[in-house]
Assembly symmetry: C2
Homo-oligomer: 301 residues x 2
């Protein structure tokens, strides 16, 4: 998985800080997660091929996560896109986008397919043979989801020397990779575990957007490789979390700890702070493997 942070600040776009948007590459997919104002310019800056984006996930309908979507869709149209685009987001997103397209008398020539979300429980919203995407119900001032991206378990790997030694016909190799025992050329049943090794463990990424501290999500996130979790505030402003329904860096770390995640990425910083290292320092008191999101940063995992 490769995660590119297009923007990771809260509230309003500024000259040097961009509102939330991320690009997750996994098994050939390029998933766009949230789309604050200016996201299309960030995509150009990091030389992303627009046509590779086929699925956009919007956590909630606050401007810093959503106001760039209509412009991006309009640009897709101007660029002559013809492949379909799937947009997953809270109920109302379809009306907001299509009303603006209608007012501009500019319908998309490509299929624009909205998947409106309303459930307050985790839901499987995307699945193909390699990846699943589930919602992570969050608790913010408006209906909000995070998204959990999981690779499916891949095929077993052939131990090619052992396969040759066991005298197995090439036609059976795929069956072995899928985990079946097969007969060899001499009619002997070969245990697939003797001639293959298990696939690498599938990876997972949890994007936890704007939310109060919500420890009951830890079960769903158990064992996730990487959690991105908003940390709008430092402890000095922890009192603002309740009213604004945001989290501190420490609370984000607490979620990572409860979920037994392998790594935590912090982001969605309030622009009142000058030194992001303070976020890392506070989170590290709870959870060791902490990284800081920064606009343009790429995480490979």
């Amino acid at each position: 998985m490769k995660l590119t942070i297009l923007g990771c600040y809260s509230a309003t776009p500024r000259i040097d800080t961009h509102p939330t948007s991320q690009l997750l590459e996994v098994n050939g997919h390029m998933f766009l997660i949230d789309c604050g104002e200016g996201t299309q310019v960030q995509l150009r800056r990091y030389k992303v091929k627009f046509s590779r984006i086929k699925h956009i996930f919007i956590s909630h309908l606050h401007g810093d996560h959503f106001f760039g979507l209509v412009g991006l869709i309009s640009t897709f149209q101007l660029l002559g896109r013809d492949t379909e685009l799937h947009v997953y987001g809270p109920k109302g997103i379809k009306e907001a986008i299509t009303l603006q397209l209608k007012l501009g008398n500019s319908w998309t020539p490509f299929a624009l397919i909205f998947h409106e979300l309303t459930s307050k429980k985790p839901e499987l919203i995307f699945e193909d043979d390699k990846v699943t995407v589930e919602t992570i119900p969050l608790d913010h001032r408006v209906y909000t989801n995070g998204f959990l991206f999981k690779e499916k378990e891949g095929e077993r790997k052939l131990l090619i020397e052992k396969v040759l030694e066991a005298n197995i016909n090439v036609a059976y190799y795929n069956k072995l990779k899928l985990g079946f025992d097969v007969e060899n050329e001499d009619g002997v049943l070969i245990d697939h575990t003797k001639v293959t090794m298990p696939p690498p463990p599938p990876k997972s990424y949890a994007f936890c957007s704007d939310t109060t501290y919500k420890p009951d999500n830890a079960d769903q996130l158990k064992g996730v490789n990487v959690i991105y979790h908003e940390s709008t505030f430092l402890e000095s402003h922890a009192h603002l979390c309740k009213k604004t329904k945001h989290s501190t860096a420490k609370q984000a770390a607490q979620i990572a700890k409860l979920a037994k995640a392998k790594a935590l990425i912090l982001g969605h910083y309030s622009t009142r702070y000058n030194d992001l290292e303070d976020f890392r320092r506070e989170a590290k008191e709870i959870f060791d493997n902490v990284a800081l999101a920064e606009d343009g940063k790429v995480f490979d995992f």
Copy 2:
């Protein structure tokens, strides 16, 4: 009048080119004209005090003139604005903005007053004691207006030596400035034209947004100081004007010539061109005083 070009390119925002937005300062007002995506960042870049903007004029509801408006309004809200904001634009603009605010559960604490436009004839849409703003009906793919900003005639200027010489009581100075004759301390009626000089001629600015060549507007624009007129294309692409309902640099110059304007500013360039000087060259064949809009450029007139 002071005009700041915040963005002057057509179609989509890019790293170094911004869609249409302009700021016109006139007699204490700061009028924002059009608001493409990223306008709020441009306002920050050029250090504009957000609270000074009280009137926003939107020519039409295509993204490159309009998609930055909802974000700007949301930022006004986050900054704790309490003074009212007037938005003038095509019918539908209110629904588009308020729907998005509603979905984000984020109403403005300040009065947000929409003036929806539907007339296809010039209309007076703003007036105070110093300035008027009229619509300029344009012909584009959707309902579109330009805007004509006119200073009202100011007060006459006192010729202070002559006033003293004429022995006029200070209490009458304002009356003189307004163009009345007054009695001096000796009871003699003083002709105001002898002790004052006429006010400087009022200035005017016409913003002509996206449109085909529309020479019948020249009457309304007669004698205007400065016309900004879109010039999406050069002559080499003149054949695209009909379908897209845009103008060439030459056509923009023709409008300036017919209107007997004092100066022409070109803008709304298609991003297909590399050298903006070509626009100036083609326009100059028709009209001499041509300037090129560029993002960040300031015109004082």
